[in-house]
Symmetry: C2
Subunit: 350 residues, 2 copies
DNA sequence: GATGGGGGTGAACACGTGTGCGCTACCCGG
DNA sequence: CCGGGTAGCGCACACGTGTTCACCCCCATC
């Protein structure tokens, strides 16, 4: 395991000092074209790759950013990762990835490790902790972009989807279809995102004087939890209304897919017996049977934009403290078979 | 944006030199308990976090590993990422993630950047380049673990699934069902993985004297490409046999899901008109309608094991060069509705 | 009291890179 | 021939940490 070649090795080979090599490689400072060309060819011949660790130490810029997600399994996050990674790499940055399975403490620990790595900035997606630790994040002294969390502080910025409006659109659609007994299949503890969707569900029902008491929460965002939790949900509905719900609004598509599967086991068909709506519009939704009504979030774009925002914060002058930015997206309702009664119209596929 | 606190700051505050602080923090070297305790409390009070960049420069160990995947969109890779990340983080390492959309040159460039970052080791999943650049990887002078690629060289190890055996199992199942005109829906250029699955398809047919000429390849692993490519596949089958295929063996589940959707648009129902089998067993497969026959790869476990192998290589003595390891997995065939004729038996769900 | 030994600590250097500043030539004008 | 300007380059230091070695001091022992 031999040592990598450094600029000192090149310097020795070229008969110059290592600062000269450094300047030659970075095309900086004044020097004869002959020397520069010679150094460059020698560097290439020796297979030199700059040591970014050492460079980062002296320049205080590592050209790396950290990304924290709560659950890689959810394709929603995959797309965010993809967007962030693409932008970041296109700009010559590297990406640290960490997944914290919905544990706020883990989340904070991971952020700390990123700070120790001297990353230039951090993106946090669907944080559980963002709300509680916002002020602490602000004190980290480095730019942070949150995806789908609330932002406050000079260093903390945000890119987020208007979940409240989106959930309202879903609920209006369900109510327009004539459903009255609408249950909610939620997720985990109270994150900001969960709060908005649930709130929209509750208020939409209350405004029309309908019952908003039938809800359960899955511990994790997986299809399997949708399957098991929908059974409890139907039980509750039967206890409250004497019948299954007419429609179920699910926190996201994974739970919705599981719910449909679970309902089928109970002998309930979607949408004939129960309508089901999801959230996110995963790629598979249009290809399910029945195809799934859901609200499309531009998740790849959100990842891209979050990264873009972070990089622009890094590039600009440190002194020129910008005001915290907050970009807001609005998703599009995708109406498909799962909420369309007995004779579904042709679904929008793709 | 104030400077972070370093061991020198602690040293000044404690009235000692920075080497003493270093030793105190690392619990190393002999020193009075009083001094050590004092330093530790001061460090905690000042909110010290070690600068891993500087530490990495001197120790030549960054406690970070790089992970290269070809396509984050595919849940198959999500699970691998999840496995690698979990193990790596549990051992105090950080993870660099890069996605190279099936471009071998990008792949190599990314590996180079990892080397520049001085990562301790690299995991490469489903490499397109692994076969071509194996010897170059070996010369990098750092341990590399490939997932589902061929390994050769002293530094290059592998964890892989026996795709050939798996594909044979799928084909045997299809042939047992009585299908004779079986088409193949492939993916992209010739990777090792693709070669094995296609080879199994071809040989299984040839052994029984059946026609193995109807195949197309999707450019990318997405549902949408499955939809469009299956149309071409049916066209070819009609040209060759005068009828659609009786069954389609798809390179993976995403393409299979798309294929089923595309067939439906053509007025062909699965499995009544055409049987479809996939590969990987994504979580959603059991919940499709029809549920999808496929071969389950232990992808999370493979990610875990790859990371574990890499870390064990890092921990052991450098001199004691181990022989290159190669671990082999065998997936399990999941027989479900999509290949089960008109009256499907109860699918194994979950 | 001299000597030895060992525990505790700091000075110096290293890791690989970037940068401010000063030094040496050389060229050219006066 | 002298002086000033400038092009080309090296010295020294910095970044934050780890490590080797030598040093000092205190105590025990002969």
């Amino acid at each position: 395991m031999r040592r990598r070649v450094s600029i000192k090795d090149i310097a020795a080979a070229a008969g110059v000092s290592h600062p000269t090599v450094s300047r030659a490689l970075r095309g900086q400072g004044r020097m004869s074209e002959a020397t520069r060309a010679r150094i460059l060819t020698i560097a290439r011949e020796m297979g030199y790759t700059p040591n970014l660790v050492a460079r980062g130490l002296v320049t205080q810029r590592t050209y790396s950013v950290g990304l924290v997600v709560t659950n890689i399994r959810d394709p929603f996050h995959s797309e965010i990762i993809r967007g962030v990674e693409a932008v970041v790499r296109a700009h010559g940055y590297s990406l640290f990835l960490a997944s914290t399975t919905a544990d706020p403490d883990q989340e904070l620990e991971v952020v700390r490790s990123f700070v120790g790595r001297d990353v230039d900035g951090i993106v946090i997606a669907s944080s559980q902790a963002g709300d509680r630790y916002a002020e602490m994040l602000d004190e980290l002294g480095m730019p942070i972009v949150l995806i789908n969390s609330h932002a406050e502080g000079d260093n903390v910025h945000a890119v987020r989807h208007d979940d409240y409006a989106g959930a309202c659109a879903v609920m209006e659609h369900l109510l327009d279809q004539g459903f009255q007994r609408i249950a909610f299949l939620g997720l985990g503890r109270s994150s900001r995102v969960h709060g908005e969707r649930r709130q929209a569900w509750k208020e939409a029902l209350r405004r029309r004087g309908l019952d908003a008491s039938v809800a359960v929460s899955a511990p994790e965002s997986t299809i399997e939890h949708g399957v098991t939790q929908v059974v409890h949900l139907v039980e509750r509905a039967r206890g409250r209304w004497g019948t299954p719900p007419q429609a179920i609004f699910c926190y996201n598509d994974l739970l919705a897919i599981g719910a449909i599967s679970g309902l089928r086991r109970l002998g309930l068909e979607v949408p004939q017996d129960v309508a089901v709506a999801g959230f996110d519009d995963l790629e598979v939704c249009a290809h399910m049977r029945p195809s799934l009504t859901t609200l499309r979030q531009p998740r790849y774009e959100m990842g891209e934009d979050a990264a873009q925002l972070l990089l622009s914060l890094l590039e600009q002058d440190r002194r020129a403290q910008p005001k915290p930015t907050e970009k807001l997206y609005r998703g599009e309702l995708q109406i498909r078979e799962s909420t369309q009664g007995v004779s579904p119209q042709t679904a929008r596929v793709g």
